[in-house]
């Protein structure tokens, strides 16, 4: 050994490799340098064992430089693959090293693999001196998630900084001087200008220099292309004459209301009589930043379906704004759910004006994701009605009244951005507008005959929640369910088998397996989120937990089924991460920057950190499935 300092290039090269991964990318330069300077680099040929329980107490941390490492139960019973695969930048076995115990798992090179080895002394030093390193090692997933949240916040920060409140005057939101042409210009000239300037509208001016009309992108389709108009026609014959305008001092909210009421997408903004600019619907919603309180009030005070629909759209804007602020997805979905609940309640109140059913004592139920409080921004309707059994012979007449009422509510909700359910799981469907005893029979029937349809129904209807009306009916239905399901192990086993049908898209080497015929994407809802939801439902039902949301179900069931607090917390973190990804994906869809399918993402578009968390999330989903598989010996 020489007493010379280590060659700087060697150190720099090692640090460069490490810095591509958490937690090293968050470590202070000095701490990272100390750590990198004492690493050893080892090679393991494919299939060779790196560590096993026989290796004795662990005295070093292994960091994968390149390659992949499988971790398996040493018994060779790897069909559950509880442990999974580690890839570049990942560390193992953290738990065993901290506890100085032998590892439980056998670590094998899945490919030819190079690993850095950090000995115990240097590991302990890094634990002591580096907070990010300590956080990573002691709370691996949580630390990764926090990094990601910070990333999300930063990604949105540029936008948030520019965001104005809806009370700001219009002039603050104008992004460019107005683009105008004389009204005598031809349609072709207008189109060429729109193309070259990449704008959605042109204002046409009269001889006095005042706005005479506006021509927009939508008009091209309606009034020129489909109407078969020649491009040489003067634009004044097809433009919108005397377009709506507001003074530049008016508030953004006024513009939004005017657009919503009159169905305009563009408004002229005037300083005095002079044209100052054009504001579009898109501009407004890009700026939108609304308060929860304001929105609630707006929803509750909506006097018409149109006004309610406008408020419902603002709910989505709020979801986006919260995402921008890095709010946890559980909170976002809770807020969005709460506001959606308010919209539903208001929709019902509006319908009650025309339908005399309030005295019946019914209860309006939310089902599926709405029942679980896990609605993302694009959710269609899943609802039903439960009503107390009337005296003999009056049931059908009462049902008819409730169906007419439900139909109006369903249509109002549709207008508010909750599309009608394709599977017709809605309160206006006579099948799902039932008296309490009918519901009890229905539930009982599903649990007795666990056929595919019954199982499918169970996944939707067993996630029910009272939204409006007499909640005691819903409580009685739930008591019945929890009481009966205990005696139906065959039903639960079938449900478990169903829940295991879609496996998280995790490859042999811990890579994310995309679906090539879907453009190299994965389905966040079907492949990632649903395993959590389905498993949580089974664990909750089997252990008598009444909670409906996936998070609450896991929290409630965990202690009863002897899942450690850490395992529960990690599963919840993972579930919330995928929900956050779904929100983000839907948000980018609305902004026109994402894929067409709201729930599909291309993992390659994620940053490396999020990709790693996604992998960890997939592992957690698989772990939860494996737990269910073990319980039911599937």
């Amino acid at each position: 050994m020489s007493s010379r300092p280590p060659p700087p290039l060697l150190l720099a090269a090692t640090m460069d490799v490490l810095r591509r991964h958490a937690p090293f990318n968050a470590m202070h330069e000095d701490a990272l340098e100390r750590l990198a300077g004492v690493l050893k680099l080892r090679y393991f040929a494919r299939e060779s064992t790196i560590l096993s329980p026989e290796s004795g107490p662990i005295n070093a941390l292994f960091i994968i430089q390149r390659g992949a490492v499988k971790a398996e139960e040493p018994s060779g019973v790897s069909l559950n693959n509880l442990a999974g695969t580690f890839t570049e930048g990942e560390c193992f076995p953290v738990g065993a090293l901290i506890a100085r115990r032998p590892t439980r798992l056998r670590y094998t090179a899945a490919r030819d693999t190079f690993v850095y080895v950090l000995d115990e002394g240097a590991f302990n030093q890094a634990l002591e001196t580096s907070a990010p390193f300590r956080a990573y090692c002691t709370k691996r997933l949580a630390a990764l998630l926090e990094l990601s949240t910070r990333g999300t916040r930063e990604a949105y920060a540029g936008r948030a900084a520019n965001e104005l409140t809806m009370a700001s005057p219009l002039r603050t939101a104008l992004r460019r001087a107005p683009v105008t042409l004389p009204q005598g210009a031809s349609v072709r000239e207008v189109l060429e200008l729109m193309k070259s300037r990449r704008i959605g509208s042109v204002v046409l001016m009269n001889a006095d220099g005042f706005p005479a009309g506006i021509f927009t992108q939508t008009d091209v389709l309606d009034r020129v292309a489909l109407a078969g108009q020649p491009l040489e026609r003067p634009v004044e014959e097809v433009m919108t004459k005397n377009p709506a305008s507001l003074p530049a001092s008016a508030a953004l909210s006024e513009a939004a209301q005017l657009m919503a009421r009159r169905g305009f997408r563009h408004l002229l903004v005037l300083e005095g009589e002079m044209l100052a600019g054009v504001i579009s619907e898109r501009d407004l919603f890009g700026l939108q930043r609304l308060s929860m309180q304001g929105l609630r009030k707006e929803i509750a005070q909506s006097g018409t379906v149109d006004a309610l629909a406008f408020a419902a759209r603002e709910v989505r804007g709020l979801g986006t704004a919260m995402l921008a602020q890095g709010v946890a997805s559980e909170q976002i979905t809770q807020f969005v759910s709460a506001l959606n609940d308010a919209v539903t309640e208001r929709a019902i109140e509006l319908a009650l004006r025309a339908h005399d059913v309030a005295a019946v004592g019914y209860c309006w139920m939310g089902l599926g994701s709405e029942g679980r409080n896990e609605q993302t921004l694009a959710t269609d309707q899943d609802n039903a009605i439960i009503f107390p059994d009337p005296p003999a012979g009056e049931r059908e007449a009462l049902r008819a009244k409730l169906l007419a009422f439900a139909d109006e509510v369903n249509r109002t909700l549709d207008a508010c951005g909750f599309p009608l359910c394709k599977g017709n799981i809605m309160a206006r469907n006579p099948q799902w507008c039932l008296a309490l005893p009918e519901w009890l029979d229905r539930f009982d029937d599903w649990m007795r005959n666990a056929d595919p349809e019954a199982l499918l129904n169970a996944t939707i209807f067993f996630d029910f929640r009272a939204l409006q009306g007499d909640a005691t009916l819903v409580d009685r239905l739930r008591e019945f369910l929890l009481d009966k399901v205990k005696d139906r192990p065959a039903f639960l086993r079938q449900m478990a088998a169903n829940a295991l049908q879609v496996r998280p898209p995790l490859g042999l080497f811990g890579d994310i397996v995309v679906e090539d015929d879907e453009g190299g994407t994965i389905d966040l809802k079907r492949q990632v989120s649903r395993p959590f939801v389905d498993c949580a439902r089974i664990l909750a039902l089997s252990s008598g937990v009444a909670a409906v949301s996936t998070v609450e179900r896991l929290r409630g069931a965990g202690p009863r089924i002897r899942m450690s607090d850490d395992d529960v917390a990690t599963a919840i973190d993972a579930f919330q991460f995928v929900q956050m990804l779904r929100l983000r994906s839907q948000d980018s869809l609305e902004r026109g920057t994402g894929t067409v399918e709201p729930n599909r993402i291309d993992p390659d578009t994620l940053n490396s950190l999020d990709r790693r968390i996604l992998r960890e999330t997939l592992r957690q989903a698989r772990k939860l499935q494996n737990r269910v598989a073990l319980d039911y010996q599937l």
Binding site: M1, S2, R4, P6, P7, L9, L10, L11, A12, A13, T14, D16, A36, G37, V38, L39, K40, L41, R42, Y43, A45, S48, R66, D112, F114, V117
Partner: protein, 232 residues
Amino acid sequence: MAPAFWPFRGPRPSVDPALAERLRHWKSLREYDPSRPAKAGRWVVVDVESSGLDAGRDALIAVGALAVVDGAIDLADSFEAVLRQDAPSSVENIEVHGIGGTEQTQGERPEAALADFLAFVGKDPLVAFHAPFDSIMLKRAIDHHLGLAFKRPWLDLADVAPLAWPKYASRLEGLDAWLEQFAIPVTFRHRAIADCLATAQLMLRVLEEAPVIGAPTAGRLLGLSGASRWLT
């Protein structure tokens, strides 16, 4: 002023007593054990940069070395020195290794740097890709500056890699081709220490193959290399 009795060959540069003591110490070090398992013990991967490709005439500019100990690259067990030159090498040459003119003329005193190198290497066997070049460059420089005959066993990976992986032998020529085959990255090709790191990763693979190709011991592995002739 050289003493009347001088233990080293050749015309004597003025080696100060402290340095002479270090050289004596190096000579007295115990030779590595050729019968040890190939994977056990220490190998020193070496790479040199020079002012040109003529090993018999061009000047040694830099030396990098990195130890592989018990089958692992020990990043802390590493060495790098730029030797002071009277005049910088040619621009074309500088473009190859990236050691600029100033860095060359302000390098370390060659005597001290090479003595440090000897101390770093000890009596462990050396490893390089195309070892004869590195071997001759070092031998000349050490002889010139320290008056010491640097006759050491070298393992030439250019000889051994084709034996370890015969299926690639006809196709792969040169370090770059082998590195590419095994996807071994090099941060700065032709910076001595960076080349050492890459070569050392190839060495880790060779050590895994050694028992398979009939070279379970260090001595046998060295025997596979034509470069063992440098042990005189």
